[in-house]
Amino acid sequence: MAQMTPAELEEFQNLSDRYHADLPGPLIGEKLPMDVLVTEYAQADPTFVVKTAGLAATHSAYRAVKGDGQCGWRATVFSYFELLLHSGDPSLVQLEKIRFETFADTMTQIGMDYELLADMFDYTWQLFDKIAEAVQNKVPDDSIILNILNDENLSNSVVYHFKIVTSAYMQLHADDYEPFLEMPVDQYRVARIDPANQEIDQIGLQALTHAVISTAGFGLEVLYLDRSMGEEVTPHQFSHSTGDVPTIRLLYRPGHYDIIYKDTQPMQVFLQPQNSTMTHIEEPQGFSSVHDFLFSPATVSTGQTSSSYDAVFQPTSQYMQHTSYRNYYQPPPPTYTDMSWYAPPPHQQIPPPVSMPTEQTLPQQRSRPSVAHSASSRSVTISPPPPSAPATANEPMIRFSTSMYQHDVRHHQTAPAAHCTGRFLVPQTHHTIIATWGFSLISTGLVTTTMVELEFASAEPGIYTIIYSSYKHLLFRPRSELND
């Protein structure tokens, strides 16, 4: 093939520069259950399939970000505002806006034409103000952020604001970054940060984290989905603390970033005595260990009537039409005397998995003491790591230990989609067991099982059945009392 002339090469470069795939969908997508991502990636690289299936066990939801060459920047910017919106702290939002305003000095100091740029920052101020108002009024609706960040020009303005802040910060702290660069910081800024259409790189993300994210008290973690060996995604912490602070999580696959969410919310456990006709599961017989029992085929319920992926995953599925289910997913009142709020209609054997509760409900859940129960039923709210709240003598306490968290992907096994059941024995009051449950995707045939440590501090001895579990909810029911 003939060598291309420089002019032809130039033309190709031009065409390539000007080419932008007309990608469908919004810049920032809706928050969706992880399983949708697993299904999407299942059509891609086999390595990704196993790893994303594993992710679904450790993470609860994701947001697709449009791959327009700015996805890393935009994902981080969106997530930052999302954390502010759900912080419930109006003063934090105000403080952050002021901090951004003071960057004007930094920019001027390093020779940027602030007056020229200032017009573009109007949308950032508007967004801060809307978030402040929403937090004040306790109506943290994601659409506040989506409306601005899904409008291309407004979105680019806000993203550019973050770029310029990052750029100014880097220049001011040049000594911190120069050792990691192959060029002086000012050259790097000009080449990689300041241009409107450059994607964020590792150093840029680190600088953005320093300049904005960790100063706001947030963490940032990137999960690298690459073709390396193993079944787990490699995480990389960009901030010192990610475990105990609100954390932005990005999922990176070569060339692209999406947003991913991990559950840091309390797990709810529901216990119910055996007086119900809701499920029909054989009594466990002759299992030699809890582990064997949990992994035995009998522990996977086939009572789930739904075999449709959509019906299971769509928050607006038919299940949600039932008033009783809707009630079921609301946090239980602080005290209650019966479980009628949660009883499913008789024709449904097992409550269906649903979408996660809305974020607004969480503070209530967190602040509520762990236990409420009645003569006919028990409900426990627990938080990982093990809460310090003591259980009283007659209240069951089930503790969830994240340190035991593992997952295991099994092929050639089917189970009802996104539905988990398991039974286990609580032989004595103070007892710790390893519980395993799993979910599968009918579309991929993968079953992901998850192991957690459940500590029964003071549950009544008995055999319990997990009758429902989502990423946030586990529902347990004792099959029988040992002393019966």
Binding site: D113, L116, N153, S157
Partner: protein, 166 residues
Amino acid sequence: MAGAGQKRITKELGELTTSPPAGVGVELKDDNNLHCWKVTMDGPSGTPYTGGKFDLELTLPPNYPFKPPTVTFKTKLYHPNVSNDTPPNSGLMCLGMLRDSEWKPSTKMSAVLEYIRHLLRDANAVAEPDPDDAVEAKIADQYKQDRAGYDKEAREWTKRYALGKK
């Protein structure tokens, strides 16, 4: 959506019409369209372009300043960075700073125009014709290897296309 882009364009256009860079004139091609500018540029003295008056068209994309403007010479000229191809490519400039991947929203149009005028300068200028950013490879080669020939040709083109106009 209008927004910041329109404000920015109005601001820049205002500055450029009241205090334009030396040898550069800017006006709207059509009063109803902020995004299309008519630029006139005097050939810098001491260059093969001396005495020439060059018309340029500067187009700002709808998503300016997040996408770069495009600049086209309407008057033919002999220069490594300006295409002398047949229309619609004639007069197209390929400048690194106006590439999508390098474009910075903090770049002002006055800086772009000054840079272009520098490109017309001769050897001792800040930015001479940049053979590495060339669209016209033959002219670029000639600029590097046969400077006298290049000067002569450029002068003739200036005389033929850019002198005695208006």
